[in-house]
Subunit: 379 residues, 4 copies
């Protein structure tokens, strides 16, 4: 795949995750950093025909105006990027920043879809790209209100033509990407492509999509611990979690509606893995001083033999942008390859990367990995 070039179009292209993705890809390409945290750099994926990490070309949309070099400096000050990296990859940041277009603010209309699709087409042409993958790494949206126009592509197209605002921004971006023949990935819990109408569009245009909600921290751990309890026949009585996080996502999730969407997604994985509903709540608290860092505490009460009560607790102290960025690179590579090989509609084989995977209810990380490896790994 050496003579193929791949574009990565990021929604939220000047956010922490996107900045880390772009700076990190440059650092790896130039040998300044190892690809730590990149799944597709493991031996299981060598020779699997994926586009090279160093060949990815970046662009995107954002409503923010702080340029990438400046954002990178901010991230270096808070320890997300190595001290001198922003300076060392300055040119790459400037190049990517020049490919960023103004984002969509509120609920979208048909003309906005056309504008986004035009931006994508221009990017593909200008940079001579074989294909482009759009990845949503913007802030989490509140759950979208249901609307009859979501039910079929015909109804949706009619509503958009009539100038109705029936789609949240994430879905508008998904529509635009798919209609422009670009794969779409939702790394957030937002609605994105998860509407019957948009699924229909993806199949009609023979373009793949994937999502949603990148599995970066607490849920990652849950996706190996819950199967452990299940395989050992240990009965989980309650599973409670508290997440403390700062940064943009923390502020967004402090909004109860957005938090509810994220929290329900987190708790669902447990019931689906264990096979029975589990007592317990998940809290998401905004703690501004934590910046890009997150601390999660989980408490699990379980029964052993003869009903003896036991407990496990864990804390996870991670940097969300640094956990998300390599997965975004993985998804860009894997979706480009999926598109190239003719895949269309939801790609359930990428469940390994998501809290709330489309097309499957398997949440066991080990099983998800086997599925991924069998599908996309070294033949």
């Amino acid at each position: 795949m050496t003579d193929v070039s791949t574009g990565v179009w990021l929604i939220g292209a000047r956010g922490s995750v996107a900045t880390t993705v772009i700076a990190g890809a440059a650092a790896i390409r130039t040998g300044l950093a190892a690809p730590t945290g990149c799944v597709t750099e493991q031996p299981d994926f060598a020779g699997a025909g994926l586009p090279g990490l160093g060949e990815l070309v970046f662009g995107g949309h954002d409503v923010a105006e702080t340029c990438l070099p400046k954002r990178a400096e901010q991230l270096a000050r808070s320890g997300v990027l190595p001290d001198r990296l922003p300076e060392l990859v300055h040119d790459d940041l400037v190049t990517a920043d020049a490919e960023i277009r103004p984002g969509i603010g509120g609920p979208g209309s048909g003309s906005q879809v056309e504008q986004v699709a035009a931006d994508l087409a221009a990017f593909r042409e200008r940079r001579a790209l074989d294909r482009v993958v759009m990845i949503n790494v913007a802030s989490t949206e509140p759950p979208a209100a249901p609307h009859p126009a979501h039910g079929s592509l015909a109804a949706l197209d009619a509503a958009l033509e009539a100038g109705e605002s029936v789609l949240p921004p994430s879905s508008l971006y998904a529509y635009a990407a798919l209609s422009a023949g670009c794969a779409y990935v939702d790394f957030t819990p937002s609605t994105g492509a998860r509407l019957p109408a948009i699924d229909e569009l993806a199949r009609e245009r023979s373009v793949p999509y994937a999502g949603s909600d990148g599995k970066t921290g607490e849920t990652l751990v849950r996706s190996v611990l819950a199967p452990m309890f299940a395989r050992r026949g240990l009965r989980v009585r309650s599973w409670s979690g508290t997440n403390l996080l700062g940064g943009g996502d923390g502020a967004t999730l402090d909004d109860p509606a957005a938090a509810a969407s994220k929290s329900a997604s987190k708790q669902r994985v447990l019931g689906e893995t264990l096979g029975y509903p589990v007592e317990g709540e998940v809290h998401i608290d905004y703690v501004g001083d934590l910046g890009d860092w997150k601390t999660a505490w989980d408490h699990i009460l379980f029964d052993g033999f003869l009903g003896v009560r036991m407990a496990m607790q864990f804390t996870w102290q991670g940097c969300d942008s640094a956990l998300a960025a390599p997965l975004v690179l993985d998804l860009a590579r894997l979706m480009a390859r999926a598109h190239e090989t003719g895949r269309s509609g939801p790609v359930a084989e990428l469940a390994f990367f998501f809290k709330d995977p489309v097309g499957t209810m398997v949440h066991d990380l080990a099983a998800q990995y086997e599925t991924l490896r069998a599908w996309a790994g070294t033949p």
Copy 2:
């Protein structure tokens, strides 16, 4: 397998684990308790031809003289058994206690092997058993000093005939079991069957053996977390652990030599799973007041993308006897079936149950489960 009867011969038959095994099997048979924590009671093993939990017949060796009903009362007082269970299964405890013979104290000789083998044969005949599985749940031994007689069956037999004390008790029991045509399982980190001479004996007699060191707590969690870090390409920098435990095992492990054996076994799983050596120590502290309970704390320092340093910690508060007992029942059933189907020598497919499995270096719990299910699960 309804008309087949299986004996379970426990070394350390009056210890906490054995007492919990015997009381628990009776509780499950009479419907007083669900088989929580029993792997072989999961749907994957229904109809796999295993002997019924309620059909197991118990006996064993022990140097202790406190009878099972009294031990069960002690365990109920410390919360390991439900309050009134000892009373409700009193008859089963008395029946099993009548099958307990005096154990071997120090290093063993040939005549002791013959005595143990004779005890096993008498048990099998008296209770009309089709086969017997010996399971070692005695206290951990210090590592055995190497001896030339361990290298081959001929050399070992010669040494035993000469009256030399060349085997630690666990190996003497293993020798006796195999020579009497009984399967042998080592649930402790003791030497047991892990000597070339004894392996030779198992193959010669066409009897299976398995072990060693039941994976009940901290290492169980490590066996799912380490693969998680590996699959995500996250680089573990250090992994430290402290175990606080009371009870007999705690007192034994406070002995540096025995602790060293257990600690090395715990740390090895990490290096073999991750593929690189990992900094960090494991401490085992005796805290008498914890009784049968154990608290473990693990601290994991790891690198994410671009070398960003992150940390995960967990604590595990479990009751070792309650975690071990259902696995002992699982192993009895699985080894009886393995023996019945003609299996001989080390059974690597049982790695799922052990910290230090014979015949394999796979420590990934999910992979171990797949191997187990494929081998012994529902066809």
Copy 3:
């Protein structure tokens, strides 16, 4: 004080705390248990003229009908009381249960005040008591709606005579106790005596009162850690807490209004101790399977020299009834003595025992202890 007898009248007299108080006092009196957790049994209070632990006479109100011996058996099964204690102190439990009267359910009226006061008077007379201390250990009430009648005793009396329901149950009990010449203690965060009208009544009748909200777990730890950070000049950036609890209190606090009252009380201690407001939330989650046990997790983010960011976390795994009961005994003794020595109105010197102490804003446990010792300790 040997020839003086003291009554303890418990609101919620058949709840977990009250049952533990009564069973525990009997156990200590008969030498079955040491007074672990009793502050007034420390050397600092020997010879301070307090009534003996073994001389306390118990009675109370409750809406529940399960008798004390039965409640004690339930508590023994869940590990709050030692296994055989209910049987050993059976007579004491029966005696106390005979002194329990039906409690007040909803908002109270004047006639209910009279009934409660009559119950108290009858108890004092029947048992020939020199004085009686009423202690509220019932479930937490939601915050009471403000009412003009709360502002002065005259207004309150007028409203009660007019048959208006202006007082929550806890305040009605406080009114009855004080008007009957009995000291009143609120061990819950309910309104109790904390209304100007009731404070006026206490002063008029020369009776002392104290409260509120017994400091048993997480807040106890906060009351030593917050002063530690203050004395060292370390700047706390955020302090977050999650409490998991079962039992009756857990169910009550799952009600958002009641939780809000408790949560605000918990966070206030920090700001008042540190001298600046602190970011962070406190969650109280009901986890039924925890029963009488509580697990709290606190996460503290703080700045050291030159703004270096550090963190402390703690978990507290306690049994609330076992933590509260000895403090209830302490408060009964100390308030009886305060009453005897002529103390009237709020007793700020008892702040050591409370999350939200009346009459003071000092939350530093060490300072509170010094105040207590200077006031009530050995001369």
Copy 4:
């Protein structure tokens, strides 16, 4: 005290702690940073006649040759100092580095004492200082072997004159400081001034000394939690600790002899505070990748009312240099003032700062603070 100038002579003057002290004092003086973590900057010490933080003049001994500006850059890279601070206080670092003399490596002799005393005298004269405080912030020494010459000043002088090597380096420095009329503080657990002979010297020369072992992290927390358990009458059954640390001190303490010294000092505080011996071990593990950061985990098992078993755990994640540096500044100011006001011999009033305070067995942080405030605080 405006016209008085004070020198601070640091043993280990190019180590992490010393570099942080010197850079931090400059940052505070120039308004670049607030004095977070400085006890003597709290209102209780305003107007207490202490020398100003900005007026301290630094020098010292070290065997290391990496200059202070370079060490400061290393510390900034590992997050101990703010990113650009080394550059901003470069001149101060250069000035202090010029006052650093080669340190003593092995066991010392009489001529070394003279050399160190001469260095001190030259520093005082060259910088026109009214007085100098020597503070030992070098790596922890192994416990010194007892020697008859330690028993009296006469015996010690005779041994030194005879050229015998009877003093560990820390004691040699203490001897030199006191004989040169400089106050001495030991911030490490090394022997320092804690020998009868050196105590005699301090009293003879009318110079104060203080120590030992700065209370920066785990023990700081223990010194508030242990009194909490004591005051509440809760019986501690076991208290276990594990410390993971990198940096120079971590490597030193990985040596069993040095660790034993530190570990015993940590556990002693518990017994002396609680009034009874407490089961439990303290581990100190070297984890190189933690750098200057330390993670401690403590597990406390305790009994509540009627013997109910409960547990508390805490983790402390701190940067040792950032915790130690402001205390070193505090001690310099307080000892200069003590010397000025004629204090001689051990200063027990400084126990607040130390794990193993000279002259007292009070380990309760709140009591220590009251003592400190009463002695040195605002009149």
